[in-house]
């Protein structure tokens, strides 16, 4: 059942460019990028019990680093990509060390404050970031000589990265480390008494989660060929968190479904309804009332109930 579900999802995603037009293929790419972003945040929120409202920092930072290095330093993608991820991860080491002075609401506020620092920097440090104009004139990489400028080629690139990201995150949460991480979420005090270093487990997860957030940032900047401070904003962080909670935090499929819901409302429905933000609010309220644990666990529950009848 579980394997079948994943296989079906993969088959649908694989076949999408054959049935859908370019508009939907591009929408598909955006959903995949949002899915990697939400899934990385889910490691922290869902499995670690650490609600962050600053995850956009990692998407934005990786995107800005990559854009800045290629525009201002003229470096090629093969060096900007790993360097951007490395830079993002190093900043995450420091931000994690600061944020994890607290847990719960304190942690939320610290992640928010630190991401706002980056957001403010992107706006004000015009010499580096071009401020409100954003960095434009970027290109997509061409791995092994394959151009990613076409919608379909880029879509498959995103799909490959997404599958790799989700697979590695699945391995992560199924490992002893993942089990310990869930333990620190449920009974931190007990975990300490059992010999687990709760702080270090959380810090490593913070850095790992930021690493994948950075990967989604690279995809994001490749897709848009443009980066603006808005990507670092609290709204960007909140959309990710919304995706995680709506889809089902602490589940593998949840953030993917949640990200798809948010992206469809934001990019597709918004073409028909001007106040799409309001609709997003209604959908979210609906989910919280009828499936408080999220869409994926909620549907699973309904399915089990229906099958037993």
């Amino acid at each position: 059942m579980r394997v079948a579900g994943w296989a079906l999802l993969f088959a649908v995603l694989l076949g999408l460019p054959w049935v859908m037009g370019e508009y939907f293929v591009n929408l598909g790419s955006q959903i995949l990028i949002a899915a990697v972003f939400a899934a990385s945040l889910n490691l922290l929120v869902g499995y670690g019990g650490l609600p962050s409202l600053g995850h956009a920092a990692w998407l934005g930072l990786a995107a800005y680093l990559s854009a800045w290095m290629s525009l201002k330093l003229g470096l090629g993608h093969w060096i900007t990509a790993p360097a951007a991820i490395l830079g993002t991860t190093l900043v995450a080491c420091v931000f994690g060390w600061i944020s994890l002075r607290a847990t719960g609401l304190g942690f939320l506020m610290l992640t928010l404050a630190l991401s706002q620092v980056l957001w403010g920097t992107a706006y004000r440090w015009v010499a580096v970031t071009d401020g409100d104009n954003g960095l434009r004139g970027l290109s997509r990489p061409a791995p092994f000589g394959v151009s990613l400028d076409g919608a379909t080629a880029f879509y498959y690139f995103c799909l490959a990265v997404t599958v790799l990201a989700i697979a590695l995150m699945a391995v992560f949460v199924a490992s002893p480390f993942g089990a310990a991480l869930r333990g620190t979420r449920d009974q931190p005090r007990r975990m300490g008494a059992l010999g687990h270093d709760v702080w270090l487990i959380r810090w490593i997860t913070f850095v790992y989660s930021s690493f994948w957030g950075g990967v989604s940032g690279l995809l994001f900047v490749y897709y848009n060929k443009y980066i603006h401070p808005a990507s670092l904003s609290i709204q960007s962080s909140a959309e990710g968190l919304l995706g995680v909670i709506a889809g089902g935090s602490g589940t593998l499929a949840g953030p993917i479904v949640g990200a798809a819901i948010v992206m469809l409302l934001k990019n597709y429905v918004s073409a028909y309804i001007e106040r799409w933000n309001m609709l997003l609010g209604f959908v979210f309220v609906f989910i919280v009332i009828f499936m408080p644990e999220g869409v994926v666990p909620g549907l699973k529950r309904l399915w089990n109930r229906w099958r037993r009848k």
């Binding site: 391995v171 002893p176 333990g183 005090r189 300490g192 059992l194 010999g195």
Partner: protein, 246 residues
């Protein structure tokens, strides 16, 4: 011989109110020590200071000669200290087996492995089931904690501590809330703990607990007021004073 646990002039206050007020005590290796005292005497606070859940204000705590009062709780666990909680502190949604696995992982290097599925750690899961069988819960290994009885949860608490083969075991009211039959079974379980393990136990149920203990410490308002063998403590007028009022 070095004491298993040696506490000197330990102090801890909460907002000026002393909870542990200059406590000193030595527990010999292999000893069974009972700590009694009325509510609010500072028994659980003392445990929390020993495990590091609370930081002491002043004083020293030595575990087999090593000063541990500056160490974090997980570091103390790695030096052979284990505890159970008065209020059940288990992983509700996980199976009994998984609870034991988390306990075994705590002292294993494998806890840092982020790339191999935990399901492939056959030895770990086998050991978890073995420990459960030893406390009479083998049949329930796959059941979630939320579905087993209160008495069984108390046994899981002890099993998780014993699985770590500690040198010093702190039991915080292991008999609390149990029925008479469960009490007898629990008493048997505690009596069967090997002598390599030093046991310090807080307990209110004197009838049961007195049989298990060799020496008894009476705490009152964060101070040790009587300490000695069972007979000495029971005969001491200060014990009666604390328990019956003057």
């Amino acid at each position: 011989m070095t004491a298993a646990l040696s506490i000197q002039n330990l102090k801890k206050s909460f907002g000026g109110l002393p909870a542990t007020n200059d406590v000193s005590m030595d527990v010999a290796p292999g000893e069974r020590r009972l700590i009694i005292g009325p509510n609010g005497a500072g028994k659980t606070t003392l445990f929390n200071l020993i495990t590091g859940d609370l930081r002491r204000d002043s004083g020293a705590i030595r575990l087999f000669g090593e000063e541990i009062s500056r160490l974090a709780p997980h570091q103390r666990a790695h030096r052979g200290l284990a505890r159970t909680y008065q209020i059940i502190t288990l992983f509700q949604k996980d199976s009994l087996e998984h609870n034991l696995v988390l306990s075994l992982l705590g002292l294993s290097r494998s806890r840092w492995d982020a790339f191999r599925p935990i399901a492939r750690y056959g030895a770990l899961n086998d050991e978890a089931r073995r420990v459960l069988a030893r406390v009479g819960l083998g049949e329930l290994a796959q059941r979630p904690i939320g579905e087993v009885s209160y008495g069984e949860k108390r046994r899981v608490e002890i099993a998780m501590a014993l699985a770590q083969k500690p040198r010093l075991l702190l039991l915080d009211e292991p008999l609390a809330g149990l029925s008479r039959e469960e009490r007898a079974a629990m008493k048997e379980l505690i009596a069967g703990i090997p002598r390599e393990v030093t046991v310090v136990m807080i307990e209110h149920d004197m009838d049961t607990a007195l049989d298990l203990a060799e020496r008894i410490t009476v705490l009152h308002y964060g101070k040790v007021i009587v300490e000695g063998t069972r007979a000495e403590v029971v005969a001491d007028p200060k014990t009666r004073e604390v328990y019956l009022g003057d």
